[in-house]
Amino acid sequence: MANLKTTEKKTKAQSMGLHTEVLTGKTQQKFFNPDEAENFYYWGTYDVDFNKRTELDVNDMDCKEANKKIDELMSQGYGTIVIKNPQGKHSLGVGILNKLNLIFEGSLGYFGVGSIDGPTVRVNGRVGWSCAENMMAGKVVIEKNAGSCFGAAVRGGDLICKGSVGARTGIDQKGGTIIIGGDAGAFTGFMMQRGRIVVLGNVGINLGDSMYDGTIYVGGKIGSYGSDAIESPMTKSDIDWLKRKLKVAEIGEDFDVSKMTKVVAGKKLWNYDALEPTEKKGAI
């Protein structure tokens, strides 16, 4: 808690517009001080060497122990870490905020590699619900199938599943790209706000339900469209982007992307209808 006298004085942070109010009494808080900016760093990140490789057997570890061990290895400069015997455990490889080659030799449970920002991850097995939730950047490749809520709320990066995924893939997606080699379940792209979803196989019912924005490409059959999800014509830039992306994703390189169905938001939901044009812009 900052001293009352110092918080009443106009600080550099206030003059920069970081905040304007002068706090007194019980409401005073300690604000970020730009004078100390050079002392700040992105907590939990490490400089790693991709050529420095190690293996970690997590068979007898719980997820906390395993994640702590991964953190320790990164702090020692290991840039390529192979995880042995993940055995479907939950929450493995979460919160990694730097570049890293992370390879799982087996399957993950729920919330695998959640909240990551930068690593390249390969899972030589299956993943459970909510894989890569809140991913900011990086690349995640799943060799087999995935559970529901695959890529929930991802904000960036590439998330690829070579098999099939469960329901609500890309729910609340805010950016990045999700690519599915097989089929996807119901409510794919539910409430997505930005980014792209590519499904080479079939999708279930209520595709793109209540989506605000973003684009979904489907190669197979569509069970049904959700509220406000509509078909849109494929353009040359769509086709070029899909070809390039599928090649980079090591999946469906020979797939005829020109025959895919493009689905976007109709933008007829209540929030669009009720708002003035300037407000709509703000809402988007």
Binding site: Q87, K89, S107, G128, N145, G166, A167, G185, A186
Partner: protein, 314 residues
């Protein structure tokens, strides 16, 4: 939250008691208010096995009360006399706990509906299961605690389903614990993960048709719903497919009969299920770690899609 697990060996028997205990114990973080097993053991098929309780094990929020052992003894005496009246001969009798009993019965007269109604007319008595292979064992605590208490580790059979319960819709007691017997059908049991939102509507309709409910647990509705469908001539699979529209809410449930194991997932796919399928074994559970307890090697698993119904035979 609750967790469910099940497995079926095709063409052979195995130590399903121990296997299911491992699967359910791996799911104990999903709930350990109570745990239940429906085990399909190897028997000669001659006698009925009746698992029943003459009292409750009362936990938090239960509407039941703990009673004196002498009350249980009185009820047991009445059960024995009713069995005698109905021409049922007790071949073997086990009393694992004061309130929990297992009888092997030689009975070939009449149907199980009349039989069960007669036994359950005794206040405080509930038949947990009735069948020539099925045994439902359920009690408070996690999978290992219940398995140890009832000595289930050595049970050999072909298939089994089980449930680790976090009580949400009703109290913590045995009557609300899963699995539920598909009363009055021999060897039918159900476990469920989810919430049913049209429970009371369906219950009223089914009770008007003469079906029996023993608890206020919404999951019991599935067993009664399927039993009513089968009573009217539907196959198990037909009843399960019908339940996707007849039951409202979110659910994944398993049903087992003497020779089969089935799963159904609601049309919203809101409840988890991971499935492993091979020529000689099907194993499934709310999470992959349940399957890993019986198949530690690398395997291919998948999530069934919304509205899917599958049935496997032994």
């Amino acid at each position: 939250m609750c967790g469910i697990a099940g497995l079926i060996h095709r063409g052979k028997s195995s130590n399903v008691g121990q296997e299911l205990q491992g699967m359910l114990q791996a799911l104990k973080h999903r709930g350990e208010d109570s745990t239940g097993y429906a085990l399909y053991g190897d028997t000669d098929g001659q006698n009925f096995i009746m698992r029943f309780k003459v009292g409750e094990n009362v936990g938090e929020g239960s509407s039941s009360v703990m009673e004196d052992v002498s009350v249980y003894d009185e009820r047991k005496k009445i059960v024995d006399s009713y069995l005698s009246q109905m021409g049922a001969k007790i071949v073997k009798e086990e009393r694992t706990l004061p309130y929990s009993l297992r009888y092997e019965i030689d009975y070939d007269k009449g149907d199980l509906l009349e039989f069960s109604q007669k036994i359950e007319s005794i206040p405080g008595v509930e038949i947990l299961s009735m069948g020539k292979s099925l045994e439902v064992i359920k009690d408070l605590g996690n999978a290992k605690a219940v398995c140890d208490r009832y000595n289930l580790g050595d049970l050999v059979g072909t298939h089994a389903i089980g449930h680790a319960r976090m009580a949400t819709e009703s109290g913590v007691d045995i009557k609300s614990a899963h699995p539920f017997w598909g009363y009055p059908f021999s060897d039918v049991s159900v476990v469920h993960n989810g919430q049913l939102t049209n429970y009371w509507n369906n219950r009223r309709i089914l009770e008007n048709k003469g079906m029996r409910f023993m608890s206020e647990c919404d999951s019991e509705l599935i067993a009664v719903y399927l039993a009513e469908k089968m009573r009217n001539g539907a196959t198990l699979e037909e009843g399960m497919k019908d339940s996707l529209s007849g039951l409202d809410g979110v659910f994944t449930y398993f049903v087992a009969t003497k020779n089969s194991l089935g799963m159904a997932k609601d049309t919203m796919a809101a409840k988890p299920l991971v499935l492993y399928e091979s020529d000689d074994l099907v194993a499934m559970g709310s999470e992959e770690i349940a399957i890993r307890s019986v198949l530690p090697q690398e395997i291919d698993t998948y999530d069934p899609f919304d509205g899917e119904v599958k049935v496997w035979q032994i």
